[in-house]
């Protein structure tokens, strides 16, 4: 807000502050009601560190997968004159509106031991996916991919196509144009999408527990650990939630504003 105006209009400021309060108060509640005196003992449990490490690793790997497959998919969606684009985009958005548990069930039906593809994998290679960390990564990637694809597609569409034309006149083939001109120009969009995807993957519960199950050290991520702790030891649940909250906030705060907004 510039010094010249008298201030933001109340009609905007008030709802903004209410929205902020709505988001921040539950987090504050978590911090205020945390069992600070017993925090050390609660968190010393080796299971906590295991769950945290598993969550961080699987979320990062899932995000990497999302970037690897999501950026080309976003490029495809952004191509002008693509036939059936609305349908394609609707399909990509489905995991966003699907309840995560339903996503987990769907993954089981396809990649489970008796699933459409999973059955073949088991018979041909003896490979089963459920109950492995790989299953956790797949479940997380499934729910996080739409975030990345839609974010990158938006950035690609907003990008100036004329730079690609300029590159073509300089002798760059389509792949070179994508690699050396398009991608660097949408890098902030890719990063923003990756951050969203990572955050979503970190917090995923329903699809993970349905498809990958829950086993400490292998498939029991932080959100699952929190849910189970809530059954018998609510204090431990709060402590674990606090850890997850802290990790998320620190990671997001470290992302400098200028890396994520447009050049």
């Amino acid at each position: 807000m510039s010094r010249h105006r008298s201030g933001a209009p109340a009609a905007l400021l008030v709802p903004a502050l209410i929205g902020l309060a709505f988001l921040v108060l539950p987090l504050l509640g978590l911090v205020i009601r945390a069992p600070w005196s017993r925090l050390g003992a609660l968190l010393a449990d080796p299971g906590v560190l295991t769950a945290l490490r598993l969550s961080l690793i699987t979320a990062t790997v899932a995000t990497a997968l999302c970037v690897l497959f999501g950026v080309p998919l976003a490029w495809l969606l952004a191509q002008p004159g693509l036939p059936g684009r609305s349908l394609l985009r609707a399909l990509v958005t489905v995991p966003l509106v699907l309840p995560p548990v339903v996503g987990g069930v769907a993954l089981l039906l396809v990649l489970g031991r008796r699933g459409l593809l999973g059955g073949w994998l088991d018979r041909a290679f003896g490979v089963t996916l459920p109950f492995t960390p790989a299953a956790v990564v797949l479940a997380e990637a499934f729910v996080a991919l739409p975030f990345l694809v839609l974010s990158v597609e938006g950035a690609l569409r907003a990008a100036d196509r004329r730079y690609e034309e300029a590159a073509a006149t300089l002798g760059a083939g389509r792949w070179t144009v994508f690699r050396r001109v398009t991608l660097p120009l949408v890098a902030p969009g890719v990063l923003a999408g990756a951050v969203l995807a990572w955050a979503r993957a970190l917090g995923e519960f329903g699809a993970t527990i349905t498809f990958a199950g829950s086993f400490p050290g292998r498939t029991q991520t932080m959100p699952i650990a929190v849910y189970l702790a809530l059954e018998t030891n609510p204090e431990a649940a709060v402590a674990l939630s606090l850890v997850l909250l802290a990790v998320s906030v620190v990671t997001l705060a470290c992302l400098r504003d200028r890396w994520v907004t447009r050049v």
């Binding site: 089981l108 489970g112 089963t128 459920p130 109950f131 199950g213 829950s214 086993f215 849910y227 059954e231």
Partner: protein, 259 residues
């Protein structure tokens, strides 16, 4: 004034219930005429099929009532009740989970054990891994599902394994017994430990395998009407019905053992 009457009737019914089923019948008939409206019952996941049937029978016996169920892990339901979820009756799969509710002062009187449940090994149709007893649960080559220790079925499983001296190698700890059973039905795991009643409910989709140590890990299922029940009269009537001859017959048919 209404609450006082409700509380007194509930107390009377409970006394009748504790005293045995013989006097319960007469009390029931007297109460039947006053019971109406919706009854919300929170019950352990393993009670799903039997309680649903009991619900229909209760509605037939008390025209004008509707029984609504919320099935889930006993520990989750107990937590919901202590956090204020509106319910009339709570039926848990273990005394431990019932304790969560009673120590929070939510129970209306003392809980009564109305059935007992025994664990049984469950395997997918055809028993592809040729599982014969608890010892197979230590095989690393099998995919095994168990209930998480925090839920009653998991706690019972722990007791059974301890009694058998077997160290299981599970691949997943599920949050409630139905989720555990589903993994078997889908063929994702080779064996799991669930209640006999769940095995019976799954019909021919699965096969149940008995094991001797099951007798060492029996779960008592307590039931109680809740203090802040919106429909206290019906709550008490339902609790009584579950303990009546008719209710007990339905439960026995599902595989539960008498208390």
């Amino acid at each position: 004034m209404k609450r006082v009457i409700a509380t007194l009737s509930a107390a009377a019914l409970l006394v009748a219930g504790c005293g045995g089923s013989s006097t319960g019948g007469a009390m029931e008939n007297a109460a039947a005429r006053k019971v109406t409206g919706q009854v919300v019952v929170f019950a352990a996941a393993s009670l799903k099929e039997s309680f649903t049937r009991i619900g229909t029978e209760f509605e037939a016996a008390h025209p004008g009532t509707t029984v609504t169920f919320n099935f889930g892990a006993s520990s989750t339901l107990a937590r919901n009740i202590t956090q204020g979820a509106p319910a009339d009756v709570f039926a848990a799969a273990s005394p431990a989970t019932m304790k969560t509710v009673t120590s929070a002062g939510e129970a209306d009187g003392e809980p009564a054990v109305f059935v007992r449940n025994q664990l049984q090994i469950v395997v997918p149709r055809g028993n592809p891994a040729k599982v014969t007893g608890l010892a197979d649960f230590a095989r690393a080559d099998l995919k095994i599902a168990l209930c998480a220790k925090q839920v009653p079925c998991g706690a019972a499983a722990e007791r059974a394994f301890a009694a058998a001296g077997v160290v299981p190698k599970p691949d997943t700890f599920e949050q409630d017994v139905k989720a555990t059973l589903t993994k078997v039905v889908l063929g994702e795991v080779d064996a799991a430990l669930v209640y006999r009643t769940d095995v019976r409910a799954a019909g021919d989709k699965v096969i149940g395998v008995d094991f001797p140590e099951a007798a060492k890990a029996i779960n008592d299922y307590p039931i109680v009407a809740l203090k802040s029940a919106p429909n206290a009269a019906a709550a008490g009537a339902f609790v009584a019905f579950v303990q009546s001859a008719k209710g007990q017959a339905t439960l026995a048919k599902a595989g539960f053992a008498a208390p």
